[in-house]
Amino acid sequence: MTQWFAAINPQLLWALGGVLGVLAVATIAGLVIKLVVKTPSAQGTIDNLNKRIRSWWVMVAIFALTLAVGPIGSLVLFGILSFLALREYITLVPTRRADHHTLFWTFFLFTPLQYFLLGIKWSGFVIVIPVYAFLFIPATMALAGDIQDFLERAAKIQWGLMICVYCMSYAPALLTLDIRGGYGPDAKLLLFLVIVDQLSDVLQYVWGKLLGRHKIAPVVSPNKTWEGFIGGVLSATAVGAGLWWMTPFTPAVAAAMSLLITLLGFAGGLVMSAIKRDRGVKDYGTLIEGHGGILDRMDSVIFAAPVFFHVVRFFYGIL
Protein backbone atom coordinates (compact mmCIF):
# COMPACT_ATOMS: atom_id res chain seq x y z
CA MET A 1 0.00 0.00 0.00
CA THR A 2 2.69 2.50 0.98
CA GLN A 3 4.66 1.40 -2.07
CA TRP A 4 1.64 2.26 -4.13
CA PHE A 5 1.24 5.69 -2.61
CA ALA A 6 4.90 6.30 -3.31
CA ALA A 7 4.11 5.36 -6.88
CA ILE A 8 1.37 7.99 -7.12
CA ASN A 9 3.93 10.37 -8.36
CA PRO A 10 3.65 13.99 -9.42
CA GLN A 11 3.20 12.98 -13.07
CA LEU A 12 0.03 11.06 -12.28
CA LEU A 13 -1.34 13.96 -10.28
CA TRP A 14 -0.48 16.41 -13.06
CA ALA A 15 -2.35 14.27 -15.59
CA LEU A 16 -5.41 13.95 -13.36
CA GLY A 17 -5.25 17.66 -12.59
CA GLY A 18 -5.22 18.35 -16.33
CA VAL A 19 -8.32 16.20 -16.82
CA LEU A 20 -10.15 18.06 -14.06
CA GLY A 21 -9.07 21.40 -15.55
CA VAL A 22 -10.44 20.43 -18.97
CA LEU A 23 -13.70 19.29 -17.36
CA ALA A 24 -14.02 22.56 -15.46
CA VAL A 25 -13.54 24.54 -18.68
CA ALA A 26 -16.06 22.30 -20.47
CA THR A 27 -18.59 22.75 -17.67
CA ILE A 28 -18.34 26.54 -17.79
CA ALA A 29 -18.42 26.56 -21.60
CA GLY A 30 -21.55 24.37 -21.50
CA LEU A 31 -23.31 26.77 -19.14
CA VAL A 32 -22.38 29.78 -21.26
CA ILE A 33 -23.49 28.17 -24.54
CA LYS A 34 -26.77 27.19 -22.86
CA LEU A 35 -27.46 30.89 -22.24
CA VAL A 36 -26.49 31.93 -25.76
CA VAL A 37 -28.26 29.44 -28.05
CA LYS A 38 -31.92 30.01 -28.83
CA THR A 39 -33.27 27.43 -31.30
CA PRO A 40 -34.95 24.36 -29.75
CA SER A 41 -32.75 21.86 -31.64
CA ALA A 42 -29.57 23.60 -30.49
CA GLN A 43 -31.00 23.67 -26.96
CA GLY A 44 -31.54 19.91 -27.17
CA THR A 45 -27.96 19.34 -28.29
CA ILE A 46 -26.52 21.51 -25.55
CA ASP A 47 -28.71 19.91 -22.85
CA ASN A 48 -27.43 16.51 -23.89
CA LEU A 49 -23.87 17.88 -23.91
CA ASN A 50 -24.26 19.25 -20.39
CA LYS A 51 -25.67 15.92 -19.21
CA ARG A 52 -22.64 14.21 -20.73
CA ILE A 53 -20.31 16.63 -18.96
CA ARG A 54 -22.05 16.01 -15.63
CA SER A 55 -21.62 12.27 -16.13
CA TRP A 56 -17.95 12.85 -16.97
CA TRP A 57 -17.41 14.34 -13.52
CA VAL A 58 -18.81 11.19 -11.93
CA MET A 59 -16.80 8.88 -14.20
CA VAL A 60 -13.55 10.78 -13.61
CA ALA A 61 -14.16 10.79 -9.85
CA ILE A 62 -14.74 7.02 -9.77
CA PHE A 63 -11.75 6.32 -12.00
CA ALA A 64 -9.42 8.59 -9.99
CA LEU A 65 -10.53 7.09 -6.67
CA THR A 66 -9.93 3.53 -7.86
CA LEU A 67 -6.51 4.54 -9.19
CA ALA A 68 -5.69 5.95 -5.76
CA VAL A 69 -6.67 2.69 -4.04
CA GLY A 70 -4.07 0.81 -6.07
CA PRO A 71 -4.11 -2.02 -8.62
CA ILE A 72 -6.87 -3.79 -6.68
CA GLY A 73 -9.05 -0.72 -7.10
CA SER A 74 -8.66 -0.68 -10.87
CA LEU A 75 -9.16 -4.45 -11.14
CA VAL A 76 -12.38 -4.28 -9.13
CA LEU A 77 -13.60 -1.29 -11.15
CA PHE A 78 -12.94 -2.93 -14.52
CA GLY A 79 -14.31 -6.23 -13.22
CA ILE A 80 -17.59 -4.50 -12.38
CA LEU A 81 -17.57 -2.68 -15.74
CA SER A 82 -17.06 -6.01 -17.53
CA PHE A 83 -19.93 -7.57 -15.63
CA LEU A 84 -22.27 -4.67 -16.42
CA ALA A 85 -21.14 -4.55 -20.07
CA LEU A 86 -21.70 -8.29 -20.49
CA ARG A 87 -25.13 -7.86 -18.95
CA GLU A 88 -26.03 -5.11 -21.43
CA TYR A 89 -24.74 -7.24 -24.31
CA ILE A 90 -26.50 -10.47 -23.32
CA THR A 91 -29.78 -8.65 -22.68
CA LEU A 92 -29.67 -7.44 -26.28
CA VAL A 93 -28.78 -10.80 -27.81
CA PRO A 94 -31.42 -13.51 -28.22
CA THR A 95 -30.69 -16.50 -26.00
CA ARG A 96 -32.76 -19.55 -25.27
CA ARG A 97 -33.91 -21.22 -22.11
CA ALA A 98 -31.28 -23.95 -22.50
CA ASP A 99 -28.44 -21.40 -22.34
CA HIS A 100 -29.24 -20.58 -18.72
CA HIS A 101 -26.49 -22.61 -17.04
CA THR A 102 -23.87 -21.64 -19.61
CA LEU A 103 -24.71 -17.98 -19.05
CA PHE A 104 -24.58 -18.42 -15.30
CA TRP A 105 -20.99 -19.71 -15.48
CA THR A 106 -20.06 -17.02 -18.00
CA PHE A 107 -21.14 -14.31 -15.58
CA PHE A 108 -20.18 -15.81 -12.25
CA LEU A 109 -17.15 -17.96 -13.04
CA PHE A 110 -15.23 -16.67 -16.07
CA THR A 111 -15.76 -12.94 -15.49
CA PRO A 112 -14.40 -12.86 -11.92
CA LEU A 113 -11.75 -15.48 -12.76
CA GLN A 114 -10.25 -13.29 -15.47
CA TYR A 115 -9.76 -10.42 -13.03
CA PHE A 116 -8.61 -12.73 -10.26
CA LEU A 117 -5.86 -14.07 -12.53
CA LEU A 118 -4.77 -10.51 -13.26
CA GLY A 119 -4.80 -9.81 -9.54
CA ILE A 120 -2.33 -12.62 -8.87
CA LYS A 121 -0.37 -11.53 -11.97
CA TRP A 122 -0.58 -14.96 -13.59
CA SER A 123 0.26 -14.59 -17.26
CA GLY A 124 -2.27 -17.34 -18.07
CA PHE A 125 -4.95 -14.67 -18.10
CA VAL A 126 -4.35 -14.44 -21.86
CA ILE A 127 -5.60 -17.99 -22.54
CA VAL A 128 -8.33 -18.75 -20.00
CA ILE A 129 -11.17 -17.22 -21.99
CA PRO A 130 -9.94 -17.84 -25.59
CA VAL A 131 -9.19 -21.50 -24.85
CA TYR A 132 -11.03 -22.80 -21.81
CA ALA A 133 -14.18 -20.67 -21.85
CA PHE A 134 -14.27 -21.03 -25.65
CA LEU A 135 -14.58 -24.81 -25.30
CA PHE A 136 -16.62 -24.80 -22.09
CA ILE A 137 -19.45 -22.73 -23.60
CA PRO A 138 -20.44 -25.03 -26.50
CA ALA A 139 -19.79 -28.13 -24.39
CA THR A 140 -22.27 -27.11 -21.67
CA MET A 141 -24.74 -25.95 -24.29
CA ALA A 142 -24.58 -29.31 -26.06
CA LEU A 143 -25.21 -31.03 -22.74
CA ALA A 144 -28.29 -28.85 -22.29
CA GLY A 145 -29.59 -30.52 -25.45
CA ASP A 146 -31.18 -27.67 -27.42
CA ILE A 147 -29.91 -27.76 -31.01
CA GLN A 148 -31.88 -24.87 -32.48
CA ASP A 149 -29.49 -22.17 -33.77
CA PHE A 150 -26.77 -23.93 -31.82
CA LEU A 151 -23.77 -22.38 -33.54
CA GLU A 152 -25.22 -18.85 -33.48
CA ARG A 153 -26.08 -19.08 -29.81
CA ALA A 154 -22.66 -20.43 -28.83
CA ALA A 155 -20.86 -17.85 -30.96
CA LYS A 156 -22.84 -14.98 -29.51
CA ILE A 157 -22.01 -15.92 -25.94
CA GLN A 158 -18.34 -16.52 -26.80
CA TRP A 159 -18.15 -13.18 -28.56
CA GLY A 160 -19.74 -11.32 -25.65
CA LEU A 161 -17.29 -12.85 -23.21
CA MET A 162 -14.34 -11.98 -25.46
CA ILE A 163 -15.44 -8.37 -25.96
CA CYS A 164 -16.90 -7.43 -22.60
CA VAL A 165 -14.52 -9.35 -20.35
CA TYR A 166 -11.39 -10.51 -22.15
CA CYS A 167 -10.68 -7.40 -24.22
CA MET A 168 -11.79 -5.00 -21.49
CA SER A 169 -9.51 -6.70 -18.94
CA TYR A 170 -6.45 -5.67 -20.97
CA ALA A 171 -6.90 -2.10 -19.72
CA PRO A 172 -6.15 -2.88 -16.04
CA ALA A 173 -3.70 -5.56 -17.25
CA LEU A 174 -1.41 -2.63 -18.06
CA LEU A 175 -0.86 -2.36 -14.30
CA THR A 176 0.79 -5.79 -14.30
CA LEU A 177 3.34 -4.97 -17.01
CA ASP A 178 7.01 -4.82 -16.05
CA ILE A 179 8.53 -2.11 -18.19
CA ARG A 180 12.25 -1.92 -18.96
CA GLY A 181 14.26 0.97 -17.55
CA GLY A 182 12.61 1.21 -14.15
CA TYR A 183 9.28 2.65 -15.33
CA GLY A 184 6.40 1.47 -13.20
CA PRO A 185 4.49 -0.72 -12.82
CA ASP A 186 2.07 2.03 -12.02
CA ALA A 187 -1.18 3.54 -13.16
CA LYS A 188 0.19 6.04 -15.68
CA LEU A 189 0.00 3.74 -18.71
CA LEU A 190 -3.63 2.94 -17.92
CA LEU A 191 -4.36 6.62 -17.46
CA PHE A 192 -2.59 7.43 -20.75
CA LEU A 193 -4.68 4.85 -22.62
CA VAL A 194 -7.95 6.05 -21.10
CA ILE A 195 -7.20 9.76 -21.61
CA VAL A 196 -6.17 9.40 -25.27
CA ASP A 197 -8.97 6.98 -26.07
CA GLN A 198 -11.78 8.91 -24.41
CA LEU A 199 -10.45 12.26 -25.59
CA SER A 200 -10.47 10.92 -29.12
CA ASP A 201 -14.16 10.00 -28.73
CA VAL A 202 -14.95 13.45 -27.36
CA LEU A 203 -12.94 15.31 -29.99
CA GLN A 204 -14.47 13.28 -32.81
CA TYR A 205 -17.86 14.28 -31.45
CA VAL A 206 -16.84 17.95 -31.16
CA TRP A 207 -15.21 18.16 -34.62
CA GLY A 208 -18.18 16.29 -36.09
CA LYS A 209 -20.65 18.75 -34.55
CA LEU A 210 -18.59 21.73 -35.74
CA LEU A 211 -17.57 20.69 -39.25
CA GLY A 212 -19.22 17.34 -39.98
CA ARG A 213 -20.48 17.07 -43.58
CA HIS A 214 -19.50 13.75 -45.15
CA LYS A 215 -20.81 10.62 -43.48
CA ILE A 216 -18.24 7.90 -42.99
CA ALA A 217 -20.57 4.94 -42.37
CA PRO A 218 -24.15 6.14 -42.79
CA VAL A 219 -25.74 2.76 -42.21
CA VAL A 220 -23.72 1.74 -39.17
CA SER A 221 -23.26 5.02 -37.35
CA PRO A 222 -25.05 8.01 -38.91
CA ASN A 223 -23.36 10.57 -36.64
CA LYS A 224 -19.79 9.70 -37.64
CA THR A 225 -18.29 11.98 -40.29
CA TRP A 226 -14.93 12.15 -42.05
CA GLU A 227 -14.38 15.64 -40.65
CA GLY A 228 -15.06 14.43 -37.10
CA PHE A 229 -12.92 11.33 -37.57
CA ILE A 230 -9.88 13.12 -39.01
CA GLY A 231 -10.12 16.10 -36.67
CA GLY A 232 -10.63 13.90 -33.62
CA VAL A 233 -7.89 11.43 -34.43
CA LEU A 234 -5.34 14.12 -35.25
CA SER A 235 -6.07 16.32 -32.25
CA ALA A 236 -6.19 13.38 -29.82
CA THR A 237 -2.91 12.12 -31.28
CA ALA A 238 -1.38 15.56 -30.75
CA VAL A 239 -2.54 15.64 -27.13
CA GLY A 240 -1.25 12.07 -26.65
CA ALA A 241 2.15 13.09 -28.02
CA GLY A 242 2.13 15.98 -25.55
CA LEU A 243 1.62 13.47 -22.71
CA TRP A 244 4.86 11.58 -23.49
CA TRP A 245 6.30 12.59 -20.09
CA MET A 246 3.91 10.26 -18.25
CA THR A 247 4.89 7.25 -20.40
CA PRO A 248 8.07 5.30 -21.18
CA PHE A 249 7.82 6.66 -24.76
CA THR A 250 9.57 9.45 -26.65
CA PRO A 251 7.22 12.16 -28.00
CA ALA A 252 7.29 10.56 -31.48
CA VAL A 253 6.48 7.10 -30.10
CA ALA A 254 3.78 8.59 -27.87
CA ALA A 255 2.23 10.08 -31.02
CA ALA A 256 2.38 6.73 -32.84
CA MET A 257 0.85 4.93 -29.82
CA SER A 258 -1.89 7.56 -29.61
CA LEU A 259 -2.65 7.15 -33.31
CA LEU A 260 -2.91 3.38 -32.76
CA ILE A 261 -5.25 3.88 -29.79
CA THR A 262 -7.51 6.35 -31.60
CA LEU A 263 -7.79 4.23 -34.76
CA LEU A 264 -8.64 1.11 -32.80
CA GLY A 265 -11.04 3.10 -30.66
CA PHE A 266 -12.79 4.27 -33.80
CA ALA A 267 -13.07 0.68 -35.02
CA GLY A 268 -14.52 -0.35 -31.65
CA GLY A 269 -17.16 2.36 -31.79
CA LEU A 270 -18.13 1.31 -35.30
CA VAL A 271 -18.37 -2.41 -34.49
CA MET A 272 -20.40 -1.94 -31.33
CA SER A 273 -22.65 0.45 -33.21
CA ALA A 274 -23.24 -2.13 -35.96
CA ILE A 275 -24.50 -4.57 -33.31
CA LYS A 276 -26.86 -1.96 -31.88
CA ARG A 277 -28.28 -1.14 -35.34
CA ASP A 278 -28.77 -4.81 -36.09
CA ARG A 279 -30.72 -5.24 -32.85
CA GLY A 280 -32.64 -2.01 -33.50
CA VAL A 281 -31.59 -0.03 -30.42
CA LYS A 282 -29.83 3.30 -30.01
CA ASP A 283 -27.98 2.64 -26.77
CA TYR A 284 -26.85 -0.41 -24.83
CA GLY A 285 -28.31 0.88 -21.58
CA THR A 286 -29.27 3.87 -19.50
CA LEU A 287 -26.72 3.67 -16.71
CA ILE A 288 -24.67 6.74 -17.66
CA GLU A 289 -26.86 9.81 -18.16
CA GLY A 290 -26.39 11.37 -21.60
CA HIS A 291 -24.03 8.62 -22.76
CA GLY A 292 -26.18 5.46 -22.68
CA GLY A 293 -24.82 2.25 -21.21
CA ILE A 294 -21.38 1.05 -20.16
CA LEU A 295 -20.77 -0.42 -23.61
CA ASP A 296 -21.59 2.89 -25.30
CA ARG A 297 -18.79 4.51 -23.32
CA MET A 298 -16.29 1.63 -23.30
CA ASP A 299 -16.60 0.43 -26.91
CA SER A 300 -13.41 2.20 -27.95
CA VAL A 301 -11.35 1.12 -24.90
CA ILE A 302 -12.38 -2.47 -25.54
CA PHE A 303 -10.71 -2.46 -28.96
CA ALA A 304 -7.72 -0.29 -28.07
CA ALA A 305 -6.65 -1.92 -24.81
CA PRO A 306 -5.54 -5.40 -25.98
CA VAL A 307 -3.51 -4.12 -28.92
CA PHE A 308 -1.94 -1.30 -26.90
CA PHE A 309 -1.03 -3.82 -24.18
CA HIS A 310 0.69 -6.23 -26.57
CA VAL A 311 2.53 -3.50 -28.49
CA VAL A 312 3.82 -1.96 -25.26
CA ARG A 313 4.82 -5.34 -23.89
CA PHE A 314 6.60 -6.30 -27.09
CA PHE A 315 8.67 -3.12 -27.40
CA TYR A 316 9.03 -1.99 -23.79
CA GLY A 317 8.24 -4.93 -21.52
CA ILE A 318 10.54 -7.29 -19.70
CA LEU A 319 9.45 -10.47 -21.46
Binding site: H100, F104, F107, T286
Partner: protein, 212 residues
Protein backbone atom coordinates in the same frame (compact mmCIF):
# COMPACT_ATOMS: atom_id res chain seq x y z
CA UNK B 1 -49.55 -0.62 8.61
CA UNK B 2 -45.99 0.09 7.53
CA UNK B 3 -43.94 -2.23 5.38
CA UNK B 4 -41.84 -4.98 6.94
CA UNK B 5 -38.19 -3.81 7.27
CA UNK B 6 -37.02 -6.83 5.27
CA UNK B 7 -39.30 -5.90 2.40
CA UNK B 8 -37.12 -2.94 1.48
CA UNK B 9 -34.00 -5.10 1.62
CA UNK B 10 -35.47 -7.88 -0.52
CA UNK B 11 -36.94 -5.35 -2.94
CA UNK B 12 -33.56 -3.64 -3.26
CA UNK B 13 -31.83 -6.95 -3.90
CA UNK B 14 -34.45 -7.96 -6.47
CA UNK B 15 -34.09 -4.65 -8.27
CA UNK B 16 -30.31 -5.03 -8.26
CA UNK B 17 -30.40 -8.59 -9.60
CA UNK B 18 -32.96 -7.71 -12.24
CA UNK B 19 -31.33 -4.33 -13.04
CA UNK B 20 -34.86 -3.41 -13.77
CA UNK B 21 -35.86 -0.33 -15.74
CA UNK B 22 -39.23 1.03 -14.74
CA UNK B 23 -41.29 2.98 -17.28
CA UNK B 24 -44.73 4.51 -16.89
CA UNK B 25 -46.37 4.70 -20.32
CA UNK B 26 -49.49 6.80 -20.36
CA UNK B 27 -50.03 6.47 -16.63
CA UNK B 28 -48.42 7.68 -13.46
CA UNK B 29 -48.26 6.28 -9.95
CA UNK B 30 -51.38 7.26 -8.05
CA UNK B 31 -52.29 6.79 -4.41
CA UNK B 32 -55.67 5.21 -5.04
CA UNK B 33 -56.94 1.66 -4.97
CA UNK B 34 -55.52 -0.07 -8.00
CA UNK B 35 -55.33 -3.57 -9.43
CA UNK B 36 -52.02 -4.04 -11.22
CA UNK B 37 -52.32 -7.03 -13.55
CA UNK B 38 -49.25 -8.43 -15.28
CA UNK B 39 -47.85 -11.29 -17.32
CA UNK B 40 -46.21 -14.02 -15.24
CA UNK B 41 -42.94 -15.75 -16.10
CA UNK B 42 -40.80 -15.94 -12.97
CA UNK B 43 -40.87 -16.25 -9.21
CA UNK B 44 -39.23 -12.83 -9.21
CA UNK B 45 -42.33 -11.24 -10.71
CA UNK B 46 -44.28 -10.09 -7.70
CA UNK B 47 -41.21 -8.95 -5.78
CA UNK B 48 -39.88 -6.97 -8.76
CA UNK B 49 -43.27 -5.46 -9.59
CA UNK B 50 -43.82 -4.51 -5.95
CA UNK B 51 -40.37 -2.92 -5.73
CA UNK B 52 -40.94 -1.03 -9.01
CA UNK B 53 -43.71 0.96 -7.34
CA UNK B 54 -42.82 4.21 -5.61
CA UNK B 55 -42.12 3.62 -1.91
CA UNK B 56 -45.25 5.34 -0.67
CA UNK B 57 -47.48 3.02 -2.72
CA UNK B 58 -45.72 -0.21 -1.77
CA UNK B 59 -47.08 -0.60 1.72
CA UNK B 60 -50.58 -0.18 0.35
CA UNK B 61 -50.06 -2.86 -2.29
CA UNK B 62 -50.55 -6.59 -1.70
CA UNK B 63 -49.36 -9.24 -4.15
CA UNK B 64 -51.69 -12.15 -4.81
CA UNK B 65 -49.79 -15.45 -4.85
CA UNK B 66 -50.64 -19.10 -5.35
CA UNK B 67 -51.33 -20.88 -2.10
CA UNK B 68 -49.94 -24.26 -3.16
CA UNK B 69 -46.49 -22.79 -3.85
CA UNK B 70 -46.11 -20.04 -1.26
CA UNK B 71 -47.81 -21.63 1.72
CA UNK B 72 -44.94 -23.68 3.14
CA UNK B 73 -42.25 -22.60 5.62
CA UNK B 74 -39.82 -19.94 4.54
CA UNK B 75 -41.73 -19.03 1.36
CA UNK B 76 -44.78 -18.28 3.44
CA UNK B 77 -42.70 -16.11 5.75
CA UNK B 78 -41.43 -14.08 2.80
CA UNK B 79 -44.74 -13.82 1.00
CA UNK B 80 -47.12 -13.27 3.87
CA UNK B 81 -45.07 -11.73 6.66
CA UNK B 82 -42.76 -9.57 4.58
CA UNK B 83 -44.85 -8.63 1.56
CA UNK B 84 -48.29 -8.96 3.13
CA UNK B 85 -49.31 -11.20 0.24
CA UNK B 86 -52.77 -12.66 -0.19
CA UNK B 87 -52.55 -16.40 -0.76
CA UNK B 88 -55.27 -17.88 -2.92
CA UNK B 89 -55.93 -21.42 -4.17
CA UNK B 90 -55.00 -21.71 -7.84
CA UNK B 91 -58.08 -21.77 -10.07
CA UNK B 92 -58.47 -25.07 -11.89
CA UNK B 93 -61.21 -24.15 -14.25
CA UNK B 94 -63.31 -27.09 -15.30
CA UNK B 95 -61.91 -29.43 -12.65
CA UNK B 96 -64.22 -30.92 -10.03
CA UNK B 97 -67.38 -30.15 -11.93
CA UNK B 98 -68.77 -26.79 -12.93
CA UNK B 99 -70.51 -26.07 -9.65
CA UNK B 100 -67.64 -27.04 -7.37
CA UNK B 101 -65.21 -24.97 -9.40
CA UNK B 102 -67.34 -21.88 -9.52
CA UNK B 103 -68.11 -22.09 -5.80
CA UNK B 104 -64.37 -22.20 -5.05
CA UNK B 105 -63.73 -19.38 -7.53
CA UNK B 106 -66.26 -17.11 -5.92
CA UNK B 107 -64.76 -17.88 -2.50
CA UNK B 108 -61.41 -16.77 -3.90
CA UNK B 109 -62.86 -13.51 -5.20
CA UNK B 110 -64.49 -12.83 -1.82
CA UNK B 111 -61.12 -13.43 -0.21
CA UNK B 112 -59.49 -10.90 -2.55
CA UNK B 113 -62.19 -8.29 -2.00
CA UNK B 114 -61.84 -8.76 1.76
CA UNK B 115 -58.06 -8.49 1.47
CA UNK B 116 -58.35 -5.23 -0.46
CA UNK B 117 -60.63 -3.61 2.09
CA UNK B 118 -60.95 0.01 1.16
CA UNK B 119 -57.28 0.95 1.07
CA UNK B 120 -55.16 -1.85 -0.40
CA UNK B 121 -54.14 -2.25 -4.02
CA UNK B 122 -53.45 -5.68 -5.53
CA UNK B 123 -50.86 -7.22 -7.83
CA UNK B 124 -52.33 -10.12 -9.75
CA UNK B 125 -51.17 -12.42 -12.51
CA UNK B 126 -54.30 -13.39 -14.43
CA UNK B 127 -52.57 -16.12 -16.45
CA UNK B 128 -52.72 -18.16 -13.26
CA UNK B 129 -49.34 -19.78 -13.79
CA UNK B 130 -45.89 -18.90 -15.03
CA UNK B 131 -45.37 -18.94 -18.79
CA UNK B 132 -42.23 -19.28 -20.86
CA UNK B 133 -42.00 -15.57 -21.58
CA UNK B 134 -42.66 -16.01 -25.28
CA UNK B 135 -46.44 -15.74 -25.18
CA UNK B 136 -48.93 -14.42 -22.69
CA UNK B 137 -51.48 -17.14 -21.93
CA UNK B 138 -55.24 -16.41 -21.98
CA UNK B 139 -56.39 -14.70 -18.78
CA UNK B 140 -58.39 -16.58 -16.16
CA UNK B 141 -61.75 -15.16 -15.15
CA UNK B 142 -60.73 -13.96 -11.68
CA UNK B 143 -59.80 -10.50 -12.87
CA UNK B 144 -63.27 -10.03 -14.37
CA UNK B 145 -65.17 -11.15 -11.27
CA UNK B 146 -62.94 -9.03 -9.07
CA UNK B 147 -63.74 -5.97 -11.19
CA UNK B 148 -67.44 -6.68 -10.96
CA UNK B 149 -67.22 -6.65 -7.20
CA UNK B 150 -64.93 -3.59 -7.04
CA UNK B 151 -65.96 -1.50 -10.07
CA UNK B 152 -64.40 1.68 -8.67
CA UNK B 153 -60.78 0.53 -8.59
CA UNK B 154 -58.22 1.62 -11.15
CA UNK B 155 -57.00 -1.12 -13.52
CA UNK B 156 -53.35 -0.80 -14.57
CA UNK B 157 -51.80 -3.27 -17.05
CA UNK B 158 -48.12 -4.14 -16.51
CA UNK B 159 -45.71 -5.95 -18.80
CA UNK B 160 -42.63 -7.52 -17.24
CA UNK B 161 -39.87 -8.24 -19.70
CA UNK B 162 -36.82 -10.52 -19.40
CA UNK B 163 -37.59 -11.75 -15.88
CA UNK B 164 -38.09 -15.22 -17.33
CA UNK B 165 -34.53 -15.01 -18.65
CA UNK B 166 -33.20 -13.97 -15.24
CA UNK B 167 -34.90 -16.76 -13.32
CA UNK B 168 -36.90 -19.11 -15.53
CA UNK B 169 -39.29 -21.75 -14.30
CA UNK B 170 -37.42 -24.55 -12.59
CA UNK B 171 -34.13 -22.69 -11.96
CA UNK B 172 -32.74 -21.29 -8.76
CA UNK B 173 -29.54 -19.66 -10.08
CA UNK B 174 -30.20 -16.23 -11.61
CA UNK B 175 -28.53 -14.83 -14.72
CA UNK B 176 -28.30 -11.03 -14.53
CA UNK B 177 -30.18 -9.87 -17.60
CA UNK B 178 -31.60 -6.34 -17.53
CA UNK B 179 -35.33 -6.50 -16.88
CA UNK B 180 -38.02 -4.00 -17.74
CA UNK B 181 -41.30 -3.21 -16.05
CA UNK B 182 -43.75 -1.15 -18.09
CA UNK B 183 -46.90 0.29 -16.52
CA UNK B 184 -49.58 1.07 -19.11
CA UNK B 185 -52.52 3.50 -19.20
CA UNK B 186 -55.38 2.65 -16.83
CA UNK B 187 -58.12 0.52 -18.38
CA UNK B 188 -61.82 1.16 -17.98
CA UNK B 189 -64.20 -1.51 -16.71
CA UNK B 190 -67.71 -1.67 -18.10
CA UNK B 191 -70.07 -4.11 -16.39
CA UNK B 192 -72.03 -4.46 -19.64
CA UNK B 193 -69.05 -5.85 -21.55
CA UNK B 194 -69.04 -9.66 -21.99
CA UNK B 195 -66.50 -11.50 -19.83
CA UNK B 196 -64.52 -12.94 -22.72
CA UNK B 197 -64.18 -9.56 -24.43
CA UNK B 198 -63.02 -7.88 -21.26
CA UNK B 199 -60.42 -10.59 -20.59
CA UNK B 200 -59.13 -10.41 -24.17
CA UNK B 201 -58.92 -6.63 -23.95
CA UNK B 202 -57.03 -6.84 -20.64
CA UNK B 203 -54.60 -9.33 -22.14
CA UNK B 204 -54.06 -7.09 -25.19
CA UNK B 205 -53.39 -4.14 -22.88
CA UNK B 206 -50.61 -6.10 -21.21
CA UNK B 207 -49.14 -7.40 -24.50
CA UNK B 208 -49.16 -3.93 -26.09
CA UNK B 209 -46.55 -2.78 -23.53
CA UNK B 210 -44.06 -5.29 -24.89
CA UNK B 211 -40.92 -3.68 -26.27
CA UNK B 212 -39.64 -6.27 -28.73
Amino acid sequence: MSAHPLAGVIAGAARFVSGVQVVWLGSRPQARQTVYFANHTSHLDFVVLWSSLPENLREQTRPVAAQDYWESGLRRKVAVDVFNALLVPRGREGAGGQNGASARASETIDHLVLGMGDCYSLIIFPEGTRGTGEEVAPFKSGLYYLCRQKPGVQLVPVYMENLNRILPKGEFLPVPFIGRVAFGPPMAFDAAEPKADFLARARDAVCSLRQS
